[in-house]
């Protein structure tokens, strides 16, 4: 009994230490953002008062209102469109049998693995030729293309886990394949769909390379791109409080969603890698 208890105390201590290690950089940047430049902060320091003025300056100077809006437009479009496409494709892979299904599925699985580095070069030069660079489309279209593999993989796993008798019963009732999907399967699919939405939204929101390559105009910058350029521009003047406030603004939307839906996040992150 005492051994078990000692073991438990050690466990808490170890977990506690690592939680502090994880939280320290996060909290120190949040606290830094509540300071003003004149405070000359160099380390972990708790501000005297809850002062949002640095956030306000960052919001206006870095035009982050615009950047956050752009990021939201891109992330929401990519998330919704790829969710619809993935649900349809996952339904086909998970609940139907057809010629070439394995080959097509493996072709799609490759998309889980390869990075934007492998596609961004031709995407840029082709988009430039057709006049799509420096537009939000240049971010939306490729990210739909690279989100669909995960979404389809994820929804296929869901549709496979639903009892096939449900589909068959519905079909015997004379329902078409779409009615079966819409009336019978989708009502149960929401937990799976939520996970997919949350993850694709996070990946799209945090994406950087594609925006760096495609976007030139200030008013089309996404939040992470704006932040990177803002930090670069402030490197000379070293106003770290302003950069910290901007960084918090960029990270906050996803972190808020994470706080409420952390189970979905964690479940989905691993699913991408766990091959059957």
């Amino acid at each position: 009994m005492t051994a078990a208890r000692r073991e438990r105390i050690v466990s808490y201590a170890v977990l506690g230490v690592f939680c502090v290690l994880v939280l320290y950089p996060v909290l120190s940047i949040v606290l830094l953002a509540f300071h003003k430049r004149s405070d000359l902060v160099t380390g972990f320091s708790i501000p005297d008062s809850l002062d949002f003025s640095t956030f306000k300056t960052a919001w206006e100077e870095g035009s982050f209102n615009r950047g956050l809006l752009n990021s939201f437009i891109v992330a929401a479009t990519v998330t919704v469109v790829s969710a619809v496409l993935s649900t349809l494709a996952g339904y086909a892979f998970g609940a139907m049998r057809f010629r070439g299904s394995d080959a097509l599925f493996y072709l799609l699985l490759l998309g889980l693995i390869f990075p934007y580095e492998a596609t961004v070069i031709p995407l840029y030069y082709v988009f430039r030729d057709v006049g799509l660079t420096d537009s939000l489309w240049a971010l939306i279209l490729p990210q739909i293309g690279l989100s669909v593999p995960f979404g389809t993989f994820w929804m296929r796993a869901f549709f496979r886990s639903t009892p096939s008798s449900l589909v068959e019963a519905s079909r015997l009732d004379g329902a078409s394949s779409f009615v079966t999907l819409w009336r019978v399967l989708l009502p149960q699919a929401w937990p799976a769909i939520t996970t997919m939405l949350v993850l694709v939204f996070m990946w799209t929101w945090n994406e950087f390379l594609l925006a760096l390559v495609m976007i030139q105009s200030d008013e089309l910058r996404t939040a992470p791109l704006g932040l990177a350029l803002f930090a670069g521009a402030n490197r000379g003047t070293l106003d770290t409080t302003l950069v910290a406030a901007a960084a918090v603004l960029v990270a906050l939307p996803v972190v808020i969603v994470y706080v409420f839906l952390q189970r979905s996040f964690i479940r989905g992150m691993f699913a991408g890698a766990v091959k059957e």
Partner: protein
């Protein structure tokens, strides 16, 4: 009238001979429309092929050209790949990636295994909370992480301040501006990000190992160390493969962290392949060379992804 046969529902019209039903079944398996499947797949594949897989093929094609992005390129065969093999800067970037794999994949997995086995069976409460905290870095944009750590590593940042406070002034330095320390310093950021991912994965895996195995090991007089190698490690084989695959791929893909914090510097001490792809394709006008680096990088990622999966599949206990 329906009868269930090996999980399938067959409908038989009254009076219809069983043989005829079976023939119909063989032609059209029950419950599943055939060709309509392609209709459901079409939109997803349209986007995937046009904006993801197609460009991958196009990148490969470009890697056989000498092209500056503006004028007409010309075919150079495997010349670009020869450069990838022989150019010292490009080779160095792959070596840097290997170093990052140590920090992004090997170190977090080892730490995760150690801690998971330490706390696995001590019935800790609030696991949900700890898990949520340890997983948090996964959700923060890498650009934000890069900015936070750039500040921590800065000449007058918290790390140096802490070192000064404990009397280690001699050690303190501008970590990301140091030729020897910049790469390990960035590597540790990766350890910070991915350690939680590994631990969460291993903790979930350990719960699935039957307690009886541990009890049997105890009865056999196995110590903590023997228990780890005989029970925990084999039991976590699948999880370990997943964690190693994911984190190794993340290490190879790293771009945001390095581009935002050091841009590959000082000198070329933190360049990685993805940074070279970006610089050559969009700043230096060596698009073909950039494409060949991208192809080699992607090939490495495929090797890692399939290689580690293979290793797990060979596990006799599965």
């Amino acid at each position: 009238m329906a009868e269930v046969q090996s999980g399938r529902v067959l409908e038989r019209a009254p009076g219809a001979p069983v043989a005829e039903v079976e023939r119909r079944v063989r032609v059209r398996a029950p419950g599943e429309p055939r060709h309509v499947a392609y209709l459901y797949l079409a939109p997803a594949f349209f986007f995937y092929l046009l904006f993801a897989f197609g460009p991958l093929v196009y990148t490969t094609w470009l890697s056989f050209f000498d092209w500056d992005g503006l004028t007409v390129g010309h075919w150079v065969g495997l010349d670009n790949y020869e450069k990838v093999l022989n150019d010292p800067d490009i080779r160095a970037s792959f070596v840097h990636s290997a170093v990052l794999i140590l920090f992004f994949a090997v170190l977090p997995c080892m730490l995760g295994l150690l801690l998971a086995s330490l706390i696995a069976h001590s019935r800790v409460r609030g696991v949900t909370f700890f898990r949520a905290v340890l997983f948090l870095p996964q959700t923060i944009a890498t650009v934000v992480i890069a900015i936070a750590w750039t500040w921590i590593y800065a000449p007058s940042g918290p790390l140096n301040e802490g070192l000064d406070a404990v009397g280690l002034d001699a050690v303190s330095r501008g970590w990301l501006g140091d030729f020897n320390w910049a790469l390990p310093a960035l590597g540790l950021v990766g350890t910070w990000v991915y350690f939680g991912l590994c631990l969460v994965l291993f903790l979930a895996g350990i719960q699935k190992i039957p307690m009886s195995l541990y009890e049997a090991a105890r009865v056999d007089g196995a110590g903590r160390l023997r228990e780890f190698f005989a029970v925990t490690l084999p039991g976590l084989r699948g999880e370990l493969a997943v964690a190693l695959t994911l984190t190794t791929i993340y290490a190879l893909r790293t771009f945001d962290l390095i581009y935002v914090s050091t841009q590959g510097g000082p000198g070329t001490s933190t360049t990685v392949p993805s940074v070279l792809v970006y610089q050559n394709a969009f700043s230096n006008g060596r698009v073909g060379l950039a494409a060949s680096v991208a192809v080699v990088l992607t090939a490495l990622i495929f090797v890692v992804a399939f290689g580690i999966t293979r290793l797990v599949d060979r596990d006799p206990s599965r």
